[in-house]
Amino acid sequence: MESYVTVSGLISQFLVGLSRAMILFIVSSGLSFILGVLRVPNVAHGSLYMIGAFVAHTLAMAAGGGAAGFWLALVLAPTAVALISLAAERLLFCHLYEREHLMLLLFTFALALILGDLTKITWGADYRSLVAPPFLQGSVMVLGTPFPRYNLFLLAVGPVVALGLWLFSNKTKVGKIARAAAVDREMVGAIGINVGRVFAFAFVLGCFLAGLGGALVSPTVSITLGMDHTIIIEAFLIVTIGGLGNMWGALAGSLIFGVSQSMGILLWPQFAIVFPYLAVVIILTLKPTGLLKSVW
């Protein structure tokens, strides 16, 4: 078995893990943001990721399937998901913030089921796949091993999203208000801020990230029903090991999850799926509150 593991294989598999981690980070940072600011454990986050992938596919096809269609889809699919989440927030969630977490969990779970069925009705049970634009297809040589160009692209997008989120929460007034509301929403109201608006914005931003993750992942996976389940479990685990509401925690959790998954494939392919969960168990045993400070 050892003979399969070579240094270059290790490196390329590590890079694959890193690029997978970028998708995980984009999705779980959105989940974490919503958890931190609104205290809503949004089970429907995975469904929005799935819808993002389906919408991206539909849009790209409608635009002729070329490179332009891909870029269009990458921008418009998350926007469509954001609009869906805005409707959900204004019609449903904004009335529920005061409920206890168990109720919120049930509500968002119900929403996940509804969105799952709507996806099935709209797109059916077929597998789809989206083609990346030509210049992101194929591989480049990285340290002597071929590495998919699209994964390199993901490796570039992840840090951009992280930087954007950091700038948003630390340099913009809305971001600062969102951080304050995460800790004491009542007091934020008492200084004259309409917290409902801030919550709507935070929810939509978090969901946009789910849609963006779904659109970004679509050239690398088959787009199908059920992709919501896997991602939501992974994202919740990542947020838990990283520290609830902590963006850097989501990043750390995603890296651990993504890399342990890809390394698992290399080391013990039949049991690869176990590795990230093993990492989660180890981390939570050593540090039950998560790696970084939770905002709760």
Binding site: K176, R179, V183, I191
Partner: protein
């Protein structure tokens, strides 16, 4: 400026305020005195909309504001300084002030520089996280933060609680200064001596009911009031 008419406030099923009425005229400092658990904080929260009364009416600036959410009260010119300070711990001192800044209806135009002039100790801590400040510093920050909303009317909940005597004295001077600048204040306190020199008028609350009110000098000589306030 403010008129509270017979409010009843509940926390869940427990009835806390019974028919509380009080008036604050523009430019006055009015105090609300009472022992622990008497209902001072609840009264202020009822006015601010944080614990809306089930019955009764609240008028503020010639408007019926009963049932208004806190953010509308703040925009209408009410600044709230909670007893437990409630500083946004993750934000720096400067950020705490920044997010509160708005063009309120108050006559004075407060900005970060001006509140730092009033509380010079805070200026040096501009970039320190709010959660790292001492209790007294957080008290000042809570007042400064309320001022940033440019209020006409300040609801101050036990500002002297836990402050050293010297700080209490200087806090009194600042409040007097705010009054000179035209701010109206409703001050919930247990510290009778502190309140005495500051207020124009006083209400005594006990077990959720207003039991006495009058000029502070008269209240202080009333044996019943002295008993309630524990002096």
């Amino acid at each position: 400026m403010l008129e509270v008419q017979g409010i009843h406030t509940y926390y869940g099923l427990s009835h806390i305020l019974f028919d509380v009425s009080l008036r604050v005229e523009a430019g006055q400092v009015v105090c609300l005195l009472g022992r622990n658990g008497a209902g001072k904080t609840t009264t202020l929260k009822s006015i601010m909309g944080l614990a809306p009364p089930a019955r009764g009416r609240i008028r503020f600036n010639q408007r019926d504001v009963t049932g208004w959410p806190p953010y509308r009260m703040a925009r209408q010119g009410a600044g709230f300084v909670p007893d437990n300070r409630r500083i946004f711990a993750d934000l720096t001192v400067g950020e705490n002030l920044e997010i509160a800044a708005r063009q309120g209806p108050g006559a004075e135009k407060w900005d970060r520089e001006r509140v730092y002039d009033l509380f010079p100790a805070l200026r040096a801590m501009d970039r320190r996280r709010g959660g790292l400040l001492s209790g007294g510093e957080q008290k000042m920050l809570a007042i400064a933060r309320a001022l940033m909303t440019n209020p006409q009317f300040l609801l101050l909940d036990e500002p002297t609680e836990g402050l050293a005597p010297l700080l209490v004295k200087s806090l009194g001077e600042r409040i007097r200064k705010l009054k000179e600048l035209g701010l109206t204040v409703l001050l919930a306190e247990q510290n009778l001596r502190f309140t005495l020199g500051l207020s124009d008028y006083g209400y005594i609350i006990d077990n959720g009911r207003i039991c006495h009110h009058g000029r502070v000098a008269e209240l202080v000589n009333d044996p019943q009031v002295r008993k309630i306030c524990g002096i």
